[in-house]
């Protein structure tokens, strides 16, 4: 689809009247008048310009996938090529760890069901090779074990919080799911 902006006029087929206008066609109602191109405001239009780009996909279970978006549908089911999973450990997870750590694991081809997607971000290729500010690349096994430790801590804290809120009559909006 061409890049339409709101200031563009609607396609000529939707303009009626005017000099040299089309005669009214029989049996077909005239299309409704419209100011904005409606096709701009669909899920498909939003995903279309992300196709074949390198994306960061954050999933509901907290995983971050980096890959190239090759295909998708109206439910935001996605196909990602050359996917890497990136694990992060924030600073201070282990004692004497002033900076954050991250590691990548090669995962290959992914088909992600739309309901599991939190957010898609297009990666700025100029910044892609730099590590995130405050973070260093580290050994996969080290990062994995630290991430596991961090997840357990978070889970215990979340559980405590939900329990405490429940005694006051609140229900957690995430229903115990950790969204990070």
């Amino acid at each position: 689809m061409e890049n339409l902006t709101i200031s563009d006029p609607p396609p000529p087929s939707l303009q009626h009247g005017g000099p040299g206008g089309m005669p009214p066609t029989l049996g077909r109602p005239p299309p409704p008048p419209q100011q904005l191109p409606a096709q701009m405001f669909t899920t498909a239009a939003q995903l279309l310009d992300l196709t074949d780009k390198k994306l960061m996909v954050a999933l509901r279970d907290g995983r971050k996938l980096l890959g190239i978006l090759r295909s998708w549908d109206q439910f935001a089911n996605l196909v990602l090529q050359s996917t890497k999973e990136r694990i992060f450990v924030p600073p201070g997870t282990a004692p004497n760890q002033p900076r954050g750590l991250y590691a990548d694991i090669d995962r290959g081809l992914f088909l992600v069901r739309g309901e599991n997607v939190l957010l898609l971000g297009e990666i700025d290729l100029d910044k892609d090779d730099d590590p995130p500010p405050g973070y260093d690349l580290a050994d996969v096994e080290l990062v994995q074990s630290l991430a596991k430790q961090k997840k357990q801590q978070d889970k215990a804290r979340e559980k405590k919080k939900v329990k405490m809120l429940a005694t006051e009559g609140f229900e957690g909006e995430n229903l115990g799911e950790i969204l990070l």
Binding site: M40, T43, Q46, Y135, L179
Partner: protein
């Protein structure tokens, strides 16, 4: 449908979207669809150190179901008009329910 139309009037304005996992993302609203999925351009994340995965990202598509709040620029909202429209919509919904 009212809020879908409302968000369409905010396109090209700067908004801050707060997600249910507490991330706050500020950016220019580029698009919205019927599920209130939101597309933001030129994003900037508050508390960047906590969310390193967004450091190299320039624009995002956010699934509507994970949004908690959208902070709007007050100057871009016609509050009396919005109040009027929401009441009208509520009245028409109540009429349909009977």
């Amino acid at each position: 449908m009212l809020f879908f139309s409302f968000f369409k009037t905010l396109i090209d304005h700067e908004v801050t979207v707060e997600l249910k996992n507490d991330i706050q993302i500020r950016g220019v609203l580029k698009s919205v669809d019927q599920y209130l999925n939101i597309k933001l351009d030129n994003i900037q994340v508050l508390e960047e150190l906590k969310y390193p995965h967004l450091s190299a990202v320039k624009n995002v598509f956010i699934r509507g179901s994970v949004v908690r709040y959208v902070h709007l620029p007050a100057s871009a909202v016609d509050i009396p008009l919005l109040e009027d429209a929401t009441r009208r919509e509520a009245a028409s919904q109540a009429g349909k329910g009977k």
